[in-house]
């Protein structure tokens, strides 16, 4: 954090934005061509990043405000739910909206047709909670953005200057010239976008080659053929799921070379690729050596542990404020891109327990806190009517 006086910049929003932009400029010029939409230099070290389509997840990724190019994210999920699938859809939809090249492995075209519909830039979609907060925090308006997770890194920098407290006129003006980095999507609607037809589907058909060799060759060819400034997104849903993948693919000597080659493909200096892989943990537990190697070959590893349905009642009865939705599960970060490659540590998000909530409009990740125990509440309620009359009885 700089030691700039905070209250100076606020009055002159127009002055602040150029200052921020000029500081970001040298980074932009060094990191490849910045012309492509949906690419933004990381506030941490300036490497190009792209959004996962879910602002909350972007914020989780070790201060980069997005998934750095060339990195893979592995999302593991326990149980039979499909929260990871929702994240994948956001990720794919974001790629479509940003005109990036999306490659989907092992899913039919139906999958692409059911992508969530676009609401607009994520900043605009977040306006409503912003307003609510403004009403609530009359006194502490200066600290409004402090300590709030959603307004972390992705919300800072350029968007901080625009969407913050400086009046809607400047915000709108900047919005127009600054293309949105992350969009909000509605899971109940269907995405209609001209470039949705550009999604490539790589089927898991049988051929005389091993399956993963075929997939790798097709990905490699697709990336080699496209113009060098194209940004690619590789989506591999439910890796090794036996309903999709034949049994021999779950042998280590099939899947691990594939992931290694994928890593090689993505780390090539000219490639601009990100990938998200999801995996069902119920079939392939984390305690097995194979899964551990798959994790070691990924740059980021996130585990989703949805609550069982019976826990819903418990969660709602807790002291969750009226505006918030109850958490649907716990999210664990085992490894974060770039950060852990360097050795780990020093991220403010590390060591937190995360809870996630999937609603119609967004996948939200919040610090997890247990609600007050059920018994306590009863005790309090029991004590209030019981205690007061007694006192009155004593007085009179």
């Amino acid at each position: 954090m700089s030691f700039r006086k905070r209250n100076i910049g606020l009055s002159t929003g127009a002055d602040r934005t150029p200052a921020l932009k000029s500081s970001a400029q040298p980074q932009q010029s060094t990191t490849a061509a910045e012309s492509s939409p949906g690419i933004r230099p990381s506030p941490d070290d300036g490497r190009p990043t792209t959004s996962t389509g879910s602002r909350s997840l972007d914020n989780l990724l070790a201060g980069h405000g997005g998934l750095p190019l060339g990195k893979t994210l592995l999302i593991e999920e326990n149980g039979t739910t499909d929260f990871a699938g929702a994240l994948l859809r956001y990720y794919a939809a974001e790629g479509v909206v940003q005109d990036q090249k999306v490659h989907v492995v092992g899913m039919p075209e139906q999958w692409g047709r059911s992508l969530p519909g676009l609401i607009g830039p994520a900043d605009v979609a977040d306006e409503k909670p912003d307003k609510r907060k403004r009403e609530r925090m009359k006194i502490a308006w200066r600290y409004e953005r402090l300590g709030e997770f959603g307004a972390g890194v992705a919300g800072s920098r350029v968007p901080a200057a625009t969407s913050g407290d400086q009046g809607p006129s400047t915000a709108n003006g900047d919005q127009a010239q600054q293309p949105a980095f992350c969009h909000a999507f509605d899971l109940t609607k269907r995405l209609t976008h001209p470039s949705i037809a550009n999604i490539t589907y790589i089927p898991l058909g049988r051929s005389n080659e091993p399956l993963f060799v075929t997939i790798h060759k097709r990905l490699q060819a697709a990336i080699a053929q496209s113009p060098s400034n194209t940004v690619h997104r590789i989506i591999i849903p439910s890796l090794l799921n036996p309903t999709l993948y034949p049994p021999e693919t779950s042998q280590p000597d099939a899947v691990l070379p594939f992931l290694h080659s994928l890593r090689a493909l993505m780390s090539a200096p000219s490639a601009r690729v990100t990938a998200i892989i999801t995996m069902p943990l119920s079939l392939f537990p984390r305690s097995s050596g194979l899964v551990r190697w798959i994790e070691l070959l990924s740059d980021g590893v996130i585990e989703l542990c949805p609550f069982p349905h019976s826990a819903d009642a418990l969660a709602t009865s807790g002291a969750v404020t009226a505006g918030e939705e109850p958490p649907q599960g716990v999210l664990k970060t085992h490894r974060l891109p770039v950060l852990h490659e360097r050795g780990g540590g020093s991220d403010q998000n590390i060591g937190q327990d995360w809870a996630f909530t999937l609603s119609r409009r967004k996948f939200e990740i919040k610090p997890f806190s247990l609600p007050p125990a059920e018994g306590d509440k009863d005790a309090q309620e029991g004590a209030a009517p019981g205690g007061m009359p007694k006192k009155a009885d004593l007085e009179f």
Binding site: D44, V213, A224, S228, Q251, P252, D253, L256, P257, H260, S261, R263, A264, S267, A268, P269, S270, R286, S287, S288, G289, L290, V291, R292, W293, E295, L296, L297, V301, H334, R335, H340, E341, R342, G343, G344, G345, S346, D347, Q348, I350, G351
Partner: protein, 351 residues
Amino acid sequence: MPSQPPLPPLLAPYVSSLPQSSLTVLSSVLGATGNWLILRFLYAALNAPSNSETEFGLNQSDGVKDKKVVFVSFLRGWEFWRSEAKRLGLDLARLTDKRQFAFIDGLSELFDNPTTAAAPSQPSFPGTAPPRTVLPVRSPPGPVPGRTPHLLSRPGNVSTNPASKEIGPVKRLHLSGNGTAALDALERDIATVMKQLKTPTPGEAEEPELVLIIDQPDLLLAATGPSKGIGATEMGEWVMGLQQNAYATIMTLSADSPLIHNASAIAHQPATPLETEHAAFAIGSAHRAQMVMQLRSLETGAARDVSGVLRVGKGGAWGQKDAGTEGNWEEKEVLYFVQRDGGVRVFGRGE
């Protein structure tokens, strides 16, 4: 927070004095990777004499031999290592030009099946390197079909600086075939690079100390396995073969609990071949090592100012030689913290 010295004082005795023909095993886990420690080893080996002194031959007087490093990485590419080393003030590209360092890329094309019989283009040491004698003469930088188009797009400037930055002065490994034959081919490739680096250039009086760093060779084992005829025994022999060419060897391994403990008899489920072979290789290597450095996460959960725990212990081969040659260090367990700027703080518990 003040910036840290590249080599934390607590760590220096462990990374800077490697005994002759020793093996150092560095084990890491998912949440506590060892890349920063490898970089410290690189720094200790390559940065010892400052550059101006080498030119005037001043470093010869204090008896410190030149060190050279051959670095084989199976999980991370040249770009990563080059940029991370730069944060430490180590210019690997320049060191490669000075023939002090050679990087062998085990990531990019390890599992690529060469469909064409043409010799793969090998952008080897630009300029100063003598022509290869063992390998086929490098094909002219023209069209090589079906492979890494970004290499082809800039023909003819292999020896210029931008090209070496872009591609990296890198030899790429290929794994083809089965069993020991495949491993032998890899060993030959690595040994060739080591021999090239070892041959003294005219300016150097004596043979330098060559340190070999192998980053995560256990990937080879995991991705092939017994069905391809590569097991823990073969891997162990492979490493031993490579060790013969080097003054000292450092090897990193994954030591996550599923990879080590599932193979033991106490485990509840039957171990897969991957787990048994990995455990055998890792434990076998630790027994052959002089020093074992283990990195792991904090048992008590993540913390904001601690990245993990480093434990330095004596390996199975400790004490087989005279005590004097093995350096004087003691077993220790410390905490470490990797900062945003790449600096590392190493400190004892409670400090």
